[in-house]
Amino acid sequence: MSGIAFPEQNHILDALPPAERERIFPHLKLVTLPLGSVLYEAGDALRHIYFPTDSIVSLLYVLENGSSAEICVVGNDGVIGVSLFMGGETTTSRAIVQSAGSAYRLSGRRLKQEFERQGETMHILLRYTQALITQMAQTAVCNRHHTVDQQLARWLLLSLDRLPDNKLTMTQELIADMLGVRREGVTDSAGKLQKLGVITYSRGTIRVLDRQRLEHLSCECYAVVKRETDRLLPARRADGLGPP
């Protein structure tokens, strides 16, 4: 939540051509997303989509017994609410804020109007959906086959890529919920990373000290997701930043 927010901090909004920006940007509303808040529950009607700037939102699939599994993380690389443009009127997952910050919100109605034009906005959002599918499928197989240590490393890296600095404000409960493991499992894994000098963890703040080492400790799933996301999404504009 540092500094002034502007729409171009979100890679999708940043990639829109001038005419689309002129149509969409006036309807964006900047909202603050506190840690742990729920944007929607499974079964809710989707009224808005969200473009995070410096926040991260996790989508969780929730089972009847209440246990949940993270299916993807969305930050400044993407958008929350893709069901909306596929025509699904309700959500099938829970969207929970995993790292506090801001996002731009657009009404579902506006989005649909934009989609009906079948222009660049639609194409960019559809390609992003494919990147999400890759992330979901990779997360599924990762959850099934890789150790909690590896998964935690993957998760930290994915989060880090979506944040402006190397600091993540998180509780261990929330991480345990995201990874679908018991809290003790997260404590053990985080303890190991700390001993190796890869991260420091105190009072809900994780700082990554050695990113390369963290990449080495993660399973290949991080690299697969990153490669796909980079391939499918437009490169950031040359200056890297929009107007201040």
Partner: protein, 238 residues
């Protein structure tokens, strides 16, 4: 050309095609060729260019997420209710999952470029197929959560029921290796779960052939995921 005309007669056997507006359906079917899918045939590897879309009629196809040769997970199953190649709807020509034929049988096959052309031509077609994409993505997330939390026995029962629905039969070919591969568990785990189901007379399994004796009984054993997926499909697409 005669093959294509013959294909038209098969069309309603694919529910997705059957649910399209008549003009869209006719245009698609006219450009499809009927083909046979062979058991364990790989239609597309992850990372490969998508050359065709498939609308299964009696065959069915597993979508597999893989990290290496031994670590896999089935994250989707496509039969006569759906189609293979929906990434094209997202403007992506590269497959992200391996597509493996799990049930031999027939399908209608269409050239990818032609399919994309039809999508551009008809917003109504796109709209309808987007709904299927929504169902498929939800299935993917559901299967991920199921793989994470539910016991092998419940997952096996779900898998058998899903397969039965797509095979349109209580009997189908199956090896334990294949099951282990799909469910991402060790073979010993599959053997144990399958023999439990057999002892309760819900299934009979021998020499690569699976026979479902009591589908209701399997529904009682399986997790919520089976019913949820079926409900979602009918709510969204019928």
């Amino acid at each position: 050309m005669t093959a294509r005309i013959a294909a038209a007669g098969l069309a309603p056997a694919n529910q997705l095609l059957a649910g399209l507006r008549a003009s869209d359906r006719r245009r698609l079917i006219a450009q499809c060729d009927p083909i046979e899918l062979g058991f364990e045939e790989v239609l597309c590897e992850a990372g490969e260019r998508i050359r065709y879309v498939y609308f299964p009629t009696t065959g069915f196809i597993s979508l597999i997420s893989a990290v290496d040769k031994s670590s896999n997970l089935e994250v989707g199953l496509v039969g006569s209710e759906g189609m293979l190649g929906s990434s094209l709807m997202l403007g992506v020509e590269i497959a992200s999952l391996r597509a493996l034929v799990q049930g031999a049988g027939s399908a209608l096959r269409m050239d990818a470029a032609r399919f994309v052309r039809e999508l551009k031509r008809s917003p109504h077609l796109r709209e309808r197929l987007n709904l299927y994409l929504f169902v498929l993505i939800t299935q993917l997330t559901q299967m991920a959560a199921c793989a994470r939390y539910h016991l092998v026995e419940a997952r096996l029962a779900r898998w058998l029921l899903m397969t039965r629905d797509r095979a349109h039969s209580n009997e189908f070919r199956l090896t334990q290796e294949f099951l282990a591969y799909m469910l991402g568990v060790r073979r010993a785990g599959i053997t144990r779960a399958a023999s439990n189901l057999q002892k309760r007379r819900l299934i009979r399994y021998s020499r690569g052939s699976m026979h479902i004796l009591d589908a209701r009984g399997l529904e009682a054993v399986t997790c919520e995921c089976y019913a949820n997926a079926a409900q979602l499909y009918s709510r969204v697409l019928t």
